[in-house]
Amino acid sequence: MMETLGLLGHGLFVVLTPENLLLCLLGAVFGTLIGVLPGLGPVATISLLMPITFSLDPIGAIIMLSGIYYGAQYGGSTTAILVNIPGESTSVVTAIDGYKMAQQGRAGDALAIAAIGSFIAGCFGTLIIAFAGPPLAKVAQQFTSPEYFSLMVFGLVAAVVLANGSLISALAMIFLGLLLGMVGMDVNTGAARMTFGLIELSDGISFVAMALGLFGVAEVICNLEDAATRGLNSSRIGRIWPTRDVLKSARGAIARGTLLGSLFGILPGGGATMASFSSYALEKRVAKDRSRFGRGAIEGVAGPEAANNAAAQTSFIPLLTMGLPTSATMALMIGALTLHGIAPGPNVIVRQPDLFWGLIVSMFVGNVMLVIINLPMIGLWVKLLQIPYRLLFLFIVVISAIGVYSVNNSPFDIYLMIGFGLLGYLLRKFNAEPAPMLMGFVLGPMLEENFRRAMLTSRGDLMIFVERPISLGLLIISVLLIISIALPSVRAGREDVFQE
């Protein structure tokens, strides 16, 4: 306890320089700015803004990234409430009651409660990381390659849960991602693999180009197809500071959402989405008058918003302690950290305490920034949403082109992004979700590396994965998970959750 507080103090010391605070603020502002644009979810937003951090030192970059991450997450809630376009699946439920409130002229209440709920949940989630991270990392430090391999298999299987398409296509997307992750130089032999003879591909496919193509470009094209998207209906926001009554009725929902979200976030496999859906269901169940839901119930905004933010926070736990991303967004964070020469995993906590504790503190700071830029500055974001899509899409395509170009200063990455834009578009039309693909892509090289290492130590004996208890346990859970999703009864339940 005291030790943790001392280390937190150390983190404060690292982060609280004027320069770092500015970076965090800038990150949160840019994150919100891009995240608030309709049709750009967190994955596209973060990959778009990531190149900005490349010139910074690792600590500054992480601090700015966390600002971007929060901004991007929260920006999606703003669009969900104001224009009924949820940026990603986690804010789908927020749109149900939030948008109704906006139509009734109570957008101010909804936005403020969402911000306050997110802030409380974010801070609570961060505390959990601070206390649970180091002991978990100690456990993970004993993992060797077979355990890591099984852990990643488990992470990928769990990722299937978050795709709300068919099980087979989600699994296929994971394998497609794994395969694309193999493109480039083989680390063990130095031989080029599947590079199509292109030198630009020898370092592998740029994941910024891939993420932006799949999630940004494809989205713009789809939005342009159905002409009747978007548009801010009511420009009346109402007062931004909620009354005591509103706060009182949201209090319980925020607390329940925070706890539920913190728990879900740790589990691999779309914690944040499941958390917000379950929180909405829970609020509906505990409410005295259920009929208010769907007609602008404040609890329907407060609970899910707190839940998805708590989960977004605690999903850093598997990432930081074991190097396991639990969602496409987290996979993106791994990519970003790797580019800065940081391999997320137990060693970060032990060997680079500056980084870990700096990150924890910048999470707190990021949450504060979020409230600052969202409550007083909400008018600005509303103005932004009033810009018609016929202009916004021009902004999005130009910024995407520049963003991708700036990673390596090469037009090649733009062509790559075009390819992935087309692929993302086709996948959407063919009813397959690209999110598991991104996870497979990031985990592919690590999966191969650990598999090869395990095979070297066991001299080619596959039994090594079932002889070790932790590895065996993870594999058993993975198999059970696949069976349970494939079973008709569970499948029906899963669809219910997504439809409700």
Partner: protein, 149 residues
């Protein structure tokens, strides 16, 4: 805008797409050293993944033919092609004539992706975008790119 609908189910096309990708990848992996499980070569892991991916392709294609699953949503070619071409325009021009003209070119092409755009607005917005990105990316972030030829 004109739309067209593909016949058959989404699963069939997804399966065919996966088979196509695994075919292309196999072509490039086939000359790599495969090795054995004990001593895995460069091509071992990719080959395993390609085989599995192709397997999924077959399953999906067969399922798509046999069962009536979801159909492919209507496809509108215009925004698809024009948005992709607008990126090509930017990529071709940025190293040759500088950032500002590349942005103008991209906006000029992308303008035609929608029926709702208006020439005067797009032009004005293009200028704003060019100024803004020159200021932010080149001015603030020191991106090494020429602004003008």
């Amino acid at each position: 805008m004109k739309q067209f609908t593909l016949r058959g189910s989404a699963d069939l096309y997804l399966g065919l797409l996966l088979l196509f990708i695994s075919g292309v990848m196999y072509w490039y992996v086939s000359d790599l050293e495969i090795g054995t499980v004990r001593r895995m070569g460069t091509g071992f892991f990719p080959l395993v993944l390609i085989v599995i991916l192709a397997g999924f392709g077959v399953i999906l294609a067969v399922r798509g033919v046999l069962t009536k699953s979801v159909r492919v949503a209507p496809i509108t070619l215009r925004p698809l092609l024009i948005i992709l071409v607008s990126f090509v325009a930017f990529a071709l021009l940025v190293d040759r004539v500088g950032l500002i003209l590349a942005i103008f070119a991209q906006v000029a092409v992308a303008h035609f992706a929608s029926d709702e755009t208006k020439p005067a607005q797009s032009l004005l917005f293009g200028i704003v975008l060019a100024l803004l990105s020159s200021g932010v990316f080149v001015g603030l972030l020191n991106m090494p790119v020429e602004l003008l030829p």
